[in-house]
C-alpha cells in the first residue's frame, strides 16, 4: 500500500468499518475480507484488529462472543448508539472535506 494511501486511510478507516457494521454485525476476519474486496487489498488483519480493540474501548460497538467451528470463539462486533452518533459525525466531516477538496481541485484548473 502506498504511503499516502496508508496515511489517508488512518483517518478514515474507523468510519469505513463503522459504516460496514451498520445493520451488519461481523467479526474481524469478515471485516478484513470485505475491505480487501473493496480494493483495500493490502490491508493487514492486525491493523483492523487494533482498530476493533480501539472502537470497542471507545464504546462505539457492542461485542458478543460466539463459538466457532475451528479455533477460539469469535468476537462479533455490532454498531451501538455511540457508534451511530460517531458515524453520523464522520459523514458530516467527510462531506465537508470532500467538498472543500473538490473545490480546491477545480479552482486550480
Amino acid at each position: 500500500m502506498g504511503k499516502q494511501m496508508t496515511e489517508m486511510l488512518k483517518g478514515t478507516l474507523e468510519g469505513i468499518v463503522l459504516a460496514f457494521l451498520t445493520g451488519n454485525p461481523a467479526y474481524g476476519y469478515e471485516i478484513t475480507a470485505w475491505l480487501r474486496s473493496q480494493g483495500f487489498t493490502e490491508i493487514a488483519e492486525g491493523t483492523v484488529y487494533a482498530l476493533l480493540v480501539r472502537i470497542e474501548k471507545n464504546g462505539l460497538v457492542d461485542v458478543e462472543k460466539r463459538p466457532s467451528e475451528k479455533g477460539p470463539p469469535r468476537k462479533v462486533y455490532s454498531l451501538n448508539t455511540g457508534g451511530e452518533a460517531y458515524l453520523e459525525e464522520f459523514w458530516t466531516t467527510w462531506g465537508f472535506l470532500a467538498e472543500r477538496l473538490e473545490n480546491l481541485r477545480t479552482e486550480g484548473k
Partner: protein, 124 residues
C-alpha cells in the same frame, strides 16, 4: 535489563502471574511462525510500549494472543496479519494501551500546564 526481568517487575500480583502463565501456554500452542511472530512483537511492545501498569500490559498481551490464535485458526499468514510494516502495526496496537504508559503522565502534565496558562490569559 532483560525482557524477562522487566516483565517480572511489571507483572506482579497473583492474578497477573496466573494470566501471564496462561498467555505463555497459549503462545506455546501456536504454529511455529505465529509463535515466533508473537515473541518478536511481545519483545517490541515491552521495550517500546513503555507500559508501566501490569494490569494493562497483561491485557495487551492477551489481546495480542487472541488475534494470533484466531488468525491461526483461519489460516491467515503472519504477513497478512502484520502487513508490510511490522513496526507500524506494533505501534498502532500499543496505542490502545497508552493509558498505562509512563509517558502518559507527562502528556497529562503538559496538557494541564497549557490549560492553566489558557485560563490565566482568559482572565486578563
Amino acid at each position: 535489563m532483560s525482557v524477562r526481568s522487566m516483565l517480572e517487575t511489571v507483572i506482579g500480583g497473583f492474578d497477573q502471574k496466573r494470566r501471564w502463565r496462561a498467555y505463555k501456554a497459549r503462545k506455546r500452542q501456536l504454529p511455529e511462525s505465529q509463535k515466533s511472530a508473537v515473541g518478536a512483537i511481545e519483545r517490541y511492545l515491552m521495550y517500546a510500549g513503555g507500559i508501566a501498569d501490569g494490569e494493562i500490559a497483561t491485557k495487551m498481551l492477551e489481546d495480542l494472543i487472541d488475534l494470533f490464535e484466531q488468525s491461526a485458526a483461519d489460516g491467515t499468514t503472519v504477513d497478512a496479519i502484520v502487513g508490510d510494516d511490522p513496526v507500524e502495526f506494533a505501534e498502532e496496537f500499543a496505542r490502545n494501551y497508552s493509558e498505562g504508559s509512563w509517558i502518559n503522565k507527562e502528556r497529562n502534565r503538559l496538557t494541564d500546564a497549557i490549560e492553566a496558562i489558557d485560563d490565566k490569559e482568559g482572565d486578563s
